[in-house]
Symmetry: C2
Subunit: 343 residues, 2 copies
């Protein structure tokens, strides 16, 4: 029963007493084969335990059934949930998911390009927000691709993600509703499209409330904890303090809370803080972080569905699918402290 070498289509054909072509047809286009024959083939498959050799199939078809997922950092708390969505959707369509991380190393990017060139992946999901492959000359050979988590700015590939503008808007609106007027934005960053959009949402909210943007309390940042801590330091140096910090992501918010804690302030009594992403840790910070949730599994699902569509249709359907962000209220926001309302 369990030979050392796996059964081939020929073994099945021999047992079913048909040709290998018929076996192949019985599997892939069953309507083209007589009922009686199909039955014999299915029995033979059951007997041999035959599984199509994916290598041979891919070789013949000129494309594989693997999707390459390239992320800058597998450990990113946002990553795994999106991946689950991607993986489920892919597998239910007979595709496998392959994972690579670039660690922001361009050399790594080239390796993946080679990988794609050698036909090992039929499609590409990009978390990096940038085509990680040096010269655009290569672009010609890129398989169908979909950006996720971060829009890809140097190549017109479709994107699936959360509506950053709307999400940011929800955060500012909450702070404004609580009575805040001086709201800092931490994590301004021109190169990251998602962050730019969040800032746009921030500005829209401030404008809508008739407050407008005070550039002295818009701080640069790269989304790391450290950048949040640094921003707090800068503000205390400049002595232009807000009553609330709207942060471009949860990591930054954690950094801000650490910075404020280090200076002896209490969140939310002295300052309110919001994040963005709702990473798992956001529940465990103290206080638990009020933030904007990304529907990560859903993003993964949609992104993969779009990619698979591209793979069969050829032409790009939508260029951008934006999902609805949800406000998650926890304990890091309250009304501004007395000290601030007086100003």
């Amino acid at each position: 029963m369990s030979n050392s070498t796996p059964a081939t289509i020929e073994d099945v054909a021999r047992i079913a007493e048909v040709s290998i072509a018929t076996v192949s047809r019985a599997i892939h286009t069953p309507e083209k084969v007589a009922n009686s024959t199909r039955l014999k083939v299915n029995q033979a498959i059951a007997i041999t335990g035959y599984t199509t050799n994916a290598m041979a199939r891919s070789l013949r078809l000129g494309r594989s059934n693997m999707i390459l997922v390239v992320a800058p950092d597998i450990g990113d708390p946002n990553f795994s949930n999106i991946l689950v969505g991607l993986e489920n959707e892919a597998r239910s369509h007979g595709y496998g998911v392959l994972i690579g991380h670039t660690q922001n190393d361009p050399q790594r990017g080239l390796e993946y390009l080679k990988f794609l060139n050698s036909n090992q992946a039929a499609g590409l999901i990009l978390f990096t927000g940038i085509l990680p492959f040096g010269h655009q000359a290569m672009t010609a050979r890129l398989p169908p691709s979909v950006g996720v988590f971060e829009p890809v700015f140097n190549g017109g590939i479709p994107y699936v993600g959360v509506d950053d503008i709307e999400g940011a808007r929800k955060a500012v609106d909450l702070l404004i509703a609580e009575g805040h007027r001086k709201i800092a934005f931490v994590g301004d960053c021109r190169t990251r499209l998602a962050y730019s959009r969040r800032r746009m949402g921030y500005e829209a909210g401030m404008d809508a409330a008739g407050i407008g943007t005070d550039l002295r309390i818009v701080l640069e940042g790269d989304g790391t904890i450290e950048s949040g801590r640094l921003a707090v330091e800068q503000l205390f140096m400049r002595d232009t303090l807000p009553s609330a910090f709207m942060c471009v992501n949860d990591q930054t918010a954690i950094g801000v809370m650490i910075g404020l804690g280090a200076r002896g302030y209490d969140v939310p009594r002295d300052f309110s803080v919001t994040g963005f992403d709702d990473v798992p840790q956001a529940v465990f910070t103290s206080p638990a972080l009020t933030t904007i949730r990304q529907p990560r599994t859903l993003i993964g699902k949609h992104a993969m569905a779009l990619l698979l569509e591209l793979l069969s249709d050829g032409r790009p359907a939508e260029t951008e699918i934006l999902l609805r962000p949800d406000l998650v209220v926890r304990n890091s926001v309250s009304a501004p402290s007395r000290a601030w309302t007086k100003r």
Copy 2:
């Protein structure tokens, strides 16, 4: 330069004015080809931008250059760091890493078995602690495999992980050194080998200190936050309270701290708590969790190295590689409270 169809070995051969066999040899066994020829071939490769078609290669060789990694849950905070180690090591040897998650669904397991049978992966890394493929009959066709994170109990495959016994021992020893005598063990679980070992370390430590094990404060658990919370409830019901909780993992410890917090107790003033794993969240709990660190990236690296060795040698080298766990002291442990020292 960038044709629509990728260059094949024949294109290279034509340009280099040699046969395809020579090209293949120039790539894989360069010492068997004359210097002058090798030069010509390399130039031709550079001109064409040739990359070996991995499908054809795998088909011919009867094995792929992919390693399948099967985890119960990609989102597990322990997972990503081990994966980084696995991935780096694999890639530096020309292998790619493929990720699957079973979500503890046996159906899923079967899909992966099919996947392996169809030659799409040369080796298997198992996070699940169990061969996820129904009947052991199949075992015959399993490719070289290595267990990681959790020893595989139903198949004699090599294992790479942390020394759970020693790690647990470090945790008890710390608690004992702080003066604790009544130390609960939370997360007893017969089916999970790693947890059993941690309990063994716990018992060894208690015995060495002449305290011994009090079964009334050894509680079952499955490593979830909820199981930790529940354990606290049980102890308060039974009214047999320890002064410290040694938890089988960080999640459990978080649950314990939540449970204690809910009853109005302060950690570490009223009770000390230790975890195991040092997941990223452990820094952000309040108080920050004292725990045992698993060298995750290193585990991944060693596991993959072992697997690749198996792949080339054939025979299993070591059956178990245990790495050193490190004690990470944070703020969840202190001397027992007055109330307890008096007992």
